[in-house]
Subunit: 214 residues, 2 copies
Amino acid sequence: MTVAVPGDSLIRPRPSGASLKSEFVAFKVNRIVEAASRLFYERGYSSCTLDNVASQLSVTKPFLYSYFRNKEAILAAICEVGISEALGVLEDVLAHEHDSHRARLAEVVRKVGRIVIDRQEYVVVYQREMKHLSADDYKRILRLRHSFDHQIGEMIREGVASGEFREDIDPFIAVWIGGLISWIPTWYSSSGQRSAEEVIEYLVQAALRLAGAE
Amino acid sequence: MTVAVPGDSLIRPRPSGASLKSEFVAFKVNRIVEAASRLFYERGYSSCTLDNVASQLSVTKPFLYSYFRNKEAILAAICEVGISEALGVLEDVLAHEHDSHRARLAEVVRKVGRIVIDRQEYVVVYQREMKHLSADDYKRILRLRHSFDHQIGEMIREGVASGEFREDIDPFIAVWIGGLISWIPTWYSSSGQRSAEEVIEYLVQAALRLAGAE
DNA sequence: TGTAAAAACTACTAGCAGGTAGATATTTTT
DNA sequence: AAAAATATCTACCTGCTAGTAGTTTTTACA
């Protein structure tokens, strides 16, 4: 799994002028975001202190402040990574030709599902804790989310237009497919011994069934 | 909508020995739980202060402490109301004869879905904030949840045995139906102008399709 | 190896939030 | 109407947590 780093705008400018393009900075920022995502995921953003995050990394609180403006900026970084990785994968799949709309839908669910499981902490924190973002960060992240929803919607509409998906399905189905995907962490964790692959394949079937394209 | 009150065990014993059977006590406890559920729903449990809850009711913090042991007990009350109302409705439906397993599944989704929408704040808080419960309260609430899941599972198994649901559906489908239902608040709120009835009927169709009983 | 710049730390503050002790107001009972 | 019991409030304490100022350590480079 590659390293996940947020956009430059979220980190505090280094005295040296280095940005996330510097391996050094990117590495540390990634470690902070990674540790914070795990803690926020387990205990919730508001009941997690920066001392918790720092001691998880065997550093001190001011260390965090030398990379991030404040606590909320760390949350924003997590949210950004969560949604933009999902969005990246979605656009990646949609950019490729596919045999059919059916195959395309299956691939979207499969690939995005994979990200949602691999980056579970990020995605769940993003879903649960977005309300604690500052107004600016909130708007920025929401825009990414809307783009995600919109593209899923388009994909469904095209499938209906092509005749591969049932004509009478509600356009609202896009929200449902998105819901199925977002809900994966819950399903995955409550599925006992099942592997990620099994859960995802099951989900692909469910999505096709919902679209009436089985 | 009837008044929702938690079990007696959660409230602080009154000096007079009165319990929730007293209209007087039940009324005040209900007002506290109601206000708290709305605030916890909007801002999250951990970032909500007891002063917030108190001022919402135009009372003071010690007023809350005269009815509840501590902040966590209020959360426990919300969770208890949330899950036990859903469980109550489920058992109610299952206790009745139905023409078919198909009709029974539809009715479960319809009735439980209704509760989930009507008691949205309770259900969502229960889902999101359970991790902040004390060990004892957590276990107690979890037992109710398991009972819920188990009964849905049984219903599906019976439907498969009767031949009404597809034989090849995964037993895990029970978790999915539960998931569909729990996810309603998200779907409902992102469905724009749709009425609760429309969303629920749509969901009934989706559940039947997932069970292969359309 | 010496020096300057960058990185990380120690030690602190201010304000807030859960929880309580004791005083006051209200109701009930006799 | 007085007294007893109950309900609610005022005023406080304590511990915690986001955030910071200024010092020390480490690194980079000459």
